[in-house]
């Protein structure tokens, strides 16, 4: 849950830093590349500060699937800060994320070739580190023209990033709708934010579903291990009853015991999660939440520890231990003590 929340927070931070409007063509309700011929017309709309064409694609760099962003020189997003070298200024140059650079042992001046580019060499001019560790890790920024050539989308952009003056976004969106000859798909920052939220809610839902299955399986497992399987516990309850404890008092003690166990188990679980994420960087487990990162995450796995999941970890451990022990304890307490002690 901490990873899920961390990824969500980073994603939303990226969206908030991004363009005010993302413009693509609408093809049967899906995003389609937008012809560059519309760029000048977009730039002329009142309220538009900047319109940046972008080509996005994925290709292999060695054994790693990398995200390639083709963008005009000088238009790198502000969050992309070169920690070594400088941004690219002409064709054949590239700026790559530190995660990727570390993986391939690249440094400034290194030349490389992307998979399927038939001899197109790119030279590293800078290494960048963005606030968002996930997206920065496998990202390569190259000049727009090089990306068009690599992905064979001459005269097209995956999308236009439109930056507007404050408060002008709705008016610009209206103006974009009126451009003749094109059916645009106009996605504002707010809309993208909603997509992210919905997407993560969906992912959260899948996680919750898996958690529920594990939870449901844990209940019978606990019943077997803590109740029916352990005659020692049954014997103890028999002794308590034989010495004058009432059934309600036995159950009261079991509830109290479980409360103590849960209060101990929940902080322990949180501590283990914290150490696993911060110390071991989500080794092994992060791959279930972030696609394609493998056993050893190549970047700092984002994680946030929020009060509600912390409370839930306590609550679920309490429910689990209660369900696991209350029923079996009750069964042992309602039979004659002599039978329970056998």
């Amino acid at each position: 849950m901490a990873i899920s929340e961390g990824v969500k927070a980073e994603s939303l931070a990226s969206v908030m830093e991004g363009a005010d409007i993302y413009l693509t063509l609408d093809q049967y309700g899906k995003n389609a590349p937008v012809p560059l011929r519309y760029l000048d017309e977009v730039k002329k709309i009142n309220g538009v500060m900047r319109a940046v064409p972008r080509v996005l694609g994925r290709t292999y760099l060695g054994d790693r699937l990398a995200v390639v962003v083709g963008i005009p020189a000088g238009e790198l997003p502000p969050s992309v800060e070169c920690v070594e070298g400088k941004p690219f200024s002409s064709s054949g140059e590239a700026v790559i994320g530190v995660g990727l650079a570390r993986h391939f042992n690249f440094s400034v001046g290194h030349a490389f070739m992307l998979g399927g580019t038939k001899g197109k060499m790119l030279k590293v001019t800078g290494l960048f580190k963005a606030e968002s560790s996930i997206w920065a890790s496998d990202l390569i920024f190259i000049p727009f023209e090089d990306a068009s050539e690599i992905f064979k989308v001459d005269g097209l952009a995956t999308d236009f990033l439109i930056y507007t003056r404050p408060g002008y976004t709705p008016a610009v969106a209206e103006a974009l709708k009126k451009i003749e000859g094109a059916s645009f798909r106009i996605q504002s920052k707010e809309l993208v934010k909603q997509y992210f939220n919905k997407g993560f809610t969906l992912k959260g839902g899948i996680f919750t579903a898996l958690y529920t299955v594990a939870f449901a399986l844990a209940i019978p497992a606990l019943l077997v291990s803590s109740g029916f399987g352990l005659s020692e516990r049954r014997r103890e309850i028999g002794v308590l009853k034989a010495t004058g404890w009432q059934t309600s008092e036995v159950l009261e003690m079991v509830v109290f015991e479980n409360l103590i166990i849960s209060l101990t188990a929940a902080p322990l679980a949180l501590l283990i999660a914290f150490l696993w994420l911060k110390g071991l960087n989500g080794l092994f487990i992060a791959q279930f939440f972030i696609a394609e990162i493998g056993l050893f995450p190549p970047f700092n796995v984002p994680a946030r520890f929020l009060p509600i999941p912390a409370f839930l970890s306590f609550f679920f451990s309490l429910i689990l231990t209660m369900v696991g022990s209350l029923y079996s304890s009750w069964r042992a307490a309602v039979i004659p003590p002599a039978e329970a002690m056998k």
Binding site: L240, G244, M253, M341
Partner: protein
């Protein structure tokens, strides 16, 4: 002398109505007087433990009645039976049934927990009893750190913690050495002097000298009764 326990046609069947039915006890009628030491004697498997469990209100009969100080135990609810076990009866089990993870002190004091007695008072009373049975130096030890005889002393102390009228001991000499048996005999005599009623199931004849009455049990029925003037 006043009767403290009486049974009427007391029977206990295991798996009744099936082909595996076992008549553990059949039509037992007995009376035990207040302040007496009563011994249930018989070979293994004769039904002594079943009978003593019914007299101690830790098991329920298939049919018949048990009266304790005039009150019918067999008609009581689970809550009422717990109250009887708490206030009137102290049980010493054959295998002692101490809780392994608790110290001798806690094993003796835990019956007081549901009575709302404070920890300090619980420990004071338990410590007093353990000292009485020469277990003062061992009261922080867990059962596995104690010998059979020492475990039995802890079990006797636990049986006495609520100051019960009746002490019931199931085969008390079966898991202890000869010296511990001598100590047990002295303890039982001392408890009798305090006016407590003691019921013992045993086939150990060394205890017979203590008895006011011996009931011979065989194949689930009482085959004889011997009374002695102590």
């Amino acid at each position: 002398m006043e009767t403290i326990i009486r049974t009427e046609k007391l029977s206990k069947l295991y798996n009744p109505g099936t082909s595996y039915e076992v008549k553990a006890l059949w039509d037992i009628d007995l009376e035990i007087k207040k302040g007496h030491i009563a011994i249930l004697s018989g070979p293994s498997g004769s039904g002594k433990t079943t009978l003593i469990s019914l007299l101690g209100a830790i098991d329920r009969p298939t049919r018949g009645k048990v009266f304790l100080m005039g009150e019918e135990l067999t008609a009581m609810s689970d809550v009422a039976l717990s109250r009887i076990r708490r206030e009137t009866i102290g049980f010493v089990f054959q295998s002692f049934n101490l809780i392994p993870r608790l110290s001798a002190l806690d094993n003796v004091s835990f019956p007081l927990i549901p009575m709302g007695v404070s920890v300090t008072e619980r420990h004071r009373r338990a410590s007093e009893l353990l000292h009485r049975f020469q277990m003062g130096e061992r009261m922080r030890h867990t059962p596995e750190e104690l010998s059979g005889g020492q475990q039995q002393r802890v079990a006797i102390a636990r049986a006495l913690i609520n100051n019960p009228h009746i002490i019931i001991a199931d085969e008390p000499t079966s898991n202890i050495d000869a010296e511990s048996v001598r100590y047990l005999i002295e303890t039982l005599q001392a408890l009798k002097k305090e006016g407590r009623t003691i019921i013992i199931s045993t086939h150990d004849q060394s205890l017979f000298n203590l008895a006011d009455v011996i009931f011979d049990v065989k194949d689930g029925i009482i085959t004889g009764m011997r009374e002695f003037k102590q």
